[in-house]
Amino acid sequence: MKQFLDQVLESAERQSTRLMQILRAVQDEYHYIPEQAIDYLAEQLNIARTQIISVAEFYSFFHLQPQGHYEILISDSITDLMLGKANIMAYLSKALRVEVGAVREDGIVSLNNTSCTGMCDQGPAGLVNGYAITKLDRPKIDRMAELIDNQVPLADWPAEFFQVDDNIRKPGLLLQQEIDQGAGLRQAFARGLQETLAEIDKSGLRGRGGAGFNTAMKWRFCAEEQSDRHYVVCNADEGEPGTFKDRVLLNSYADQVFEGMTLCAAIIGAEQGYLYLRGEYRHLEQQLRDLLQQRREAGLLGDNILGQGLNFDIEICMGAGAYICGEESALIESLEGKRGIPRNRPPYPVSHGYLNKPTVVNNVETFMAAAAISANGGDWFKGAGTEKSAGSKILSISGDCALPGIYEYPFGTTIAQILHDCGAVDVLGVQIGGPSGTFISKHELERKLAFEDLATGGSFIILNNSRNLFAMVKNFTHFFAHESCGFCTPCRVGTSLLKNQLDKVLDGHGSAGDVVALEELCQLVKNYSHCGLGQTAANPILTTLQRYPDLYQNQLKEISYEPGFDLDAALETARRMAHRDDAAAHLTQVED
């Protein structure tokens, strides 16, 4: 083990900031983080063993208990459920002879659920040892069981199991006009860096992650910070269920994304950049590394880029299954080899980011757009969209429609138009912006895609009239409770209380006061949570409660109060011990 760990430590240059990378390697080798490894790594990295344990316990893909040699995780996203995930899971469990959440006795295979894997347009999907496996069906599962029983190495599994399609259905401004490699940078140097920043400002580009902060302003703030070092970070941790556009952009347009990062580096004076890639997109890791190498060879990364004296390089950091790391300050913590806990703000990352140095964190789509703006000019971008929302938005569309996949629209497009294009009929409503966004009903389809109306990171989940709205609300609410980092009281306790309270109502144990209590709790979690996760965790309940109060009311019992637990059932042990089962040994739950 020591030899292996030394090798891993060497490749991580014995930097504790690379703890994520180190633990991923250990998890791959042993299928858990063994105790001896913790001790040795702590000693060699000169950090407390508790730091390693707390990181291992924070991320879903790390384990302190042995997992199977084949670690199978199935996506629990609502879109996967809509595509028959429950049946698939039951069939898998039977075929592999292992319970969900367990490791098979021989240690060969383990099976569990995981949050959305970003394959919503080709589910039910999952991960085998971190590699995405799509369109699961019974024949595929039978074949998997065979491969596993024969212990065939993953590398020798049929390639089509791991095929991930782009499914670009409607390219727009950005997608149909990819810039030539280096075009954005050459234009920027020819025009002047300050002038290029002015072009980005003129373009009206706002961050595509969802918050919509003015990109040029962010870069300028960061550039103006006096520091010996600046950093550029690309946030490729799209974990919002129903979102998968970054997966497609990094598969087919990564060159332009890296170009945008390099452009940002030139403008803010950074020499190091990081692409923080969500663990679920492990299948993209190697091709992205190869592309970075290719850009170095083309003089677009490394020392003296394009002979302009710019030194900049990009490293890829892989996440390990934590939705919260999409929050920029949590992402930075994770980059530093720590648990992904959102920082207190102010100060903001533009002044105190990675290693407390000025850092620009932008979304994949934002960097991609910035490169195109440099190449094509600000007016080209500004020409599309609305007054406050310039340009286009790339959408991930999944759920009940004929053609799930990637669509790009100028801002200002109506939801009805989008639904028409993707072949959605008999629509009940659309979840816009993922669970943290808004559920709009079929009566609101004339609303527009724009920061002025429906701002979105890009996820559309369509539900038709055959769907149970509560299945979705329950899935989302459980998701947030599972993904809360636990830092602050209202989110840590509140999201779990929300989950329990919602379940009480949905399971038919609620009475009039319970919906009132549910709503009060929603407001509390929303108003007092530390970061965006907690502030939006109640949205699935609030937006549906607002639109479908009757649905909630119909779930309620017609009594004034329903206790949280079953009094009579609680007496069962006592009855058994007393050998009694007469009428007097039973209690009614509530006096009617």
């Binding site: 344990i53 207190n344 209202p490």
Partner: protein, 239 residues
């Protein structure tokens, strides 16, 4: 000209770099808090000190005071919600105030009194938490831990030892100890360490001290936490 903020209509001066909490404490204004202690880097996790700053909710312990800020702390809504957040802390763990050695000296209990908390409101989680009595002089009852991280900070910043850390995620968050066995007895904590004495609840207790001061003669048996906190913390904030 000195800069000022307004808290609940009262003008309060502050010096550059102070947080709202620091400015308030120095001026004798109490804002409820549990994870904050003036001797340590602010943490901002318990959220009890949430105030409304120019209409937006912020934690007073981390948010910088800025000239002309309008801060609301004692609105009916904020007080109600602080009570709810405290109730969350009570149902998350297992708190039996009457049977706890810390009763009367406990900040969690005292804050609850201050906020007029009369019940736990939320359903209990009945979390299965352990007691670690492995150390000869110090005891950890995880049932009462509220994750304020003061022991984590005290051990690292004051004792130079790094005995504690926070682990897990969401409702499974828990306190861990830096020793091979994970037990306090195998760690290098000493009874004289700051970390052994800083716990605002009864989670970390010194052994063989029980009832040395009888119930009825303890800190919060006679004074409200706002009074005590201001007395102790004004100095800490340089007031």
């Amino acid at each position: 000209m000195s800069k000022t903020i307004t808290i609940d209509g009262k003008k309060i001066p502050f010096s550059e770099g102070q947080t709202i909490m620091e400015a308030a404490t120095e001026a004798g204004v109490y804002i409820p808090h549990l994870c904050h202690n003036p001797d340590y880097e602010p943490h901002g996790s318990c959220k009890l000190c949430t105030v409304s700053v120019n209409g937006r909710n912020c934690t007073a312990c981390t948010f910088p005071a800025m000239d002309g800020q309008e801060v609301i702390s004692e609105s009916r809504e904020l007080e109600h919600d602080r009570q709810r957040i405290t109730q969350m802390l009570f149902v998350e763990g297992n708190h039996f105030c009457p049977g706890c050695e810390k009763t009367g000296n406990c900040q969690l209990q005292a804050v609850a009194y201050h906020l007029n908390m009369l019940d736990n409101h939320f359903p209990h989680f009945f979390a299965d938490r352990e007691v670690d009595a492995s150390h000869p002089d110090i005891l950890i009852d995880h049932n009462r831990c509220i994750f304020c991280t003061l022991c984590v900070r005290a051990s690292r910043e004051k004792d130079g030892k790094n005995v504690f850390a926070i682990s897990g995620r969401g409702i499974n968050k828990h306190l861990i100890v830096n020793s091979a066995s994970g037990k306090l007895g195998d760690s290098d904590i000493d009874v004289n360490d700051c970390a052994a004495h800083i716990c605002p609840t009864g989670a970390i207790l010194i052994k063989r001290q029980g009832y040395r001061i009888p119930i009825g003669q303890r800190i919060y048996d006679h004074k409200e936490i706002n009074e005590v906190a201001l007395e102790q913390e004004r100095e800490g904030h340089g007031g």
